[in-house]
Symmetry: C2
Subunit: 169 residues, 2 copies
Amino acid sequence: MTSPGSHTLRFELREGDEEAVRAIVESTDFFSPAEINIAVELVQERRAKGDASGYHFVFLDEVHAGRTRTLGYACYGPIDGTLSSYDLYWIAVADSLRGRGLGRVLLQESERRIAAAGGQRIYVDTSSRATYVPTRAFYERSGYLQEALLADFYAPGDGKVIFCKVVGN
Amino acid sequence: MTSPGSHTLRFELREGDEEAVRAIVESTDFFSPAEINIAVELVQERRAKGDASGYHFVFLDEVHAGRTRTLGYACYGPIDGTLSSYDLYWIAVADSLRGRGLGRVLLQESERRIAAAGGQRIYVDTSSRATYVPTRAFYERSGYLQEALLADFYAPGDGKVIFCKVVGN
C-alpha cells in the first residue's frame, strides 16, 4: 500500500498524455479499439493545434515522491455552429480508482471551466445499454437531464441517450 | 428563357465543386458565413481524402449546350462509432430553382445510396426556428420522423430538431 500523493488538476498537455489517455480509457473496458484510438487522436489534435483544435482537457494527476501519475481526465469543447453549447466528449478514470469520486471532480471542474468560458449548455452522449446504467446514474446525480433517446442509434438495441445540463447564466 | 437541359446525378467531384457548393449554399440565405465555409471544407476534405474523408456527395447537374451547371447537392456519411447510422450533413438547391422537386431527387438518391452501402438509419439535424418550417415539412413529407428536440441548442430560442428515417433492412 502506498500512501496517497497529492491530487492536482492540470489543463495543459504534458509529455506522455497520449499514452496516459490510452491506458486510462483501455482500463475501463467500456470502449472499443476504434473509440480508444479516437480518444488518443483528440490529445494529438490538441497538441498540434492548441485551443484551435476545439478540444480542452482537464487532467487529474497524483504527484507522489516526485513522480506524476495521471489518474483520469475529461475532454470537452464548444459545439460548432452553436452560440454557447458544449460537448463533454470524454470523461474517464483509471479502473483501479473507480468509486473514489474522481469522476465527479473532473466533471465539476469541466463544468466550472465551461461556464467561465461563456458556455451555457453541456451535452453528453451515452449508450442506452444496461452496461451504462452506472454512467447514466453518474450524470443524473450530477444534475444532468435526459433530453433525448435515439433508439438503435449505435446499433440495434443500442440507443444514444443525450443528457444536458444548463450552466452559467 | 432557356430550355431545360438534361439533369444528371454525379457522385465524383469535378473541378469547381468548391465554388459551386459555395454559390448554392449562399443562394439559399439559410446559412451563416461560418456554416458556408464548413460546407466548402467538406468538399475539400472529400477531394483530399476520398472515401476516407467520410463525406459522400450527390450532385445534380444540368448539362445544356455542352456546359455543365450544378443545381444542387447533398452530402452524407457514416456516423463514427455506429454500426449503420448515417448523417445527412447538407442538402441544398440553388434558390432560383426551389420548388421543382430537385431537393427530393437529391434526398431520394442519397437514401438509395446509403441503403446500398448498408446504412439503416439516416439522421438529419435542423433548427426549431420558424424559418425552418419548410425544411421540416420537406423531411416529414419524405418519411422522416422527429426523434428529438434539444431546446436552445444552437442559441436561446433556437433548438435542434433531430429527424430520423429507417432505410434498408
